[in-house]
């Protein structure tokens, strides 16, 4: 399936891009992150991240659909 992935903060620096279109066999956010972690060498584990799907926070096990926008949210530091 095709997913759109957006990167922020340290993940953006590591991936060297703001966003990418991914063709993947992963069916949930957990599987997709494993794949991207291997591809980009992210060191942050799932326990440090939150997931957003189509602009809303979601569970790691949430089933992905073709065309979903997926964002892995590093620890935030606004304010």
């Amino acid at each position: 399936m095709n997913y759109r992935v957006l990167y922020f903060a340290s993940l953006r620096d590591r991936a060297g891009m703001d966003a990418e279109q991914i063709h993947s066999l992963a069916t949930d956010a957990r599987g997709l992150y494993s794949e991207l972690r291997a591809r980009h060498g992210f060191t942050m584990g799932e326990d440090r991240l939150r997931v957003a799907i189509n602009g809303a926070f979601a569970q790691w096990g949430h089933t992905l659909h073709d065309g979903d926008e997926v964002v892995f949210i590093p620890p935030v530091s606004g304010g």
Partner: protein, 147 residues
């Protein structure tokens, strides 16, 4: 005015404060977060905020809705900057009005605490020694993802 807003432009706290006060307002509490010249013992020169804007917006509004449910308040607003900021720039403004001061203080603090915990905004500090780095919620550096 939407209750929560990400702004790429300078924040005007006086204009925001005026929108808080009604005839039934007895108390306003405000919080201003400023870019300061040091963090964790290092001299800071400037910083950038990145935001995942659609989720920041909806999560920010959710936090203000929660504050309205938890505390007897009249108005509540929060504006957070995105983009490049210099020392002495206003990074975030929170204002709450209420009939009584307890609710105004509690709601103001709730909003800034939750914004810092939950809203997808990231601060990258640029230090005087030429380095820069993403920060954690407790203002310690994210050691990991840098190349």
């Amino acid at each position: 005015m939407t209750a929560f807003r990400i702004s790429n432009d300078t924040i005007d706290p006086a204009a925001l404060a005026r929108a808080l006060v009604h005839a039934r307002t007895g108390a306003c509490a405000t919080f201003e977060g400023w870019v300061r010249d040091h963090n964790d013992g290092r001299a800071v020169q400037r910083l950038d905020y990145q935001a995942y804007a659609p989720l920041a917006q909806s999560e920010g509004e959710r936090i203000i809705d929660e504050a309205r449910e938890k505390f007897a308040i009249i108005e509540a607003f929060c504006v957070h900057r995105a983009g490049a900021l210099a020392i002495g720039d206003l990074a975030v403004w929170v204002g709450v009005s209420a009939a009584h001061r307890g609710a105004a203080f509690d709601a103001c603090r709730y909003i800034i605490d939750e914004v810092k915990k939950r809203v997808p905004i990231w601060k990258n500090e640029h230090y005087a020694d030429g380095e820069s780095g993403w920060l954690h919620p407790d203002n310690t550096p994210v050691a990991s993802e840098r190349k």
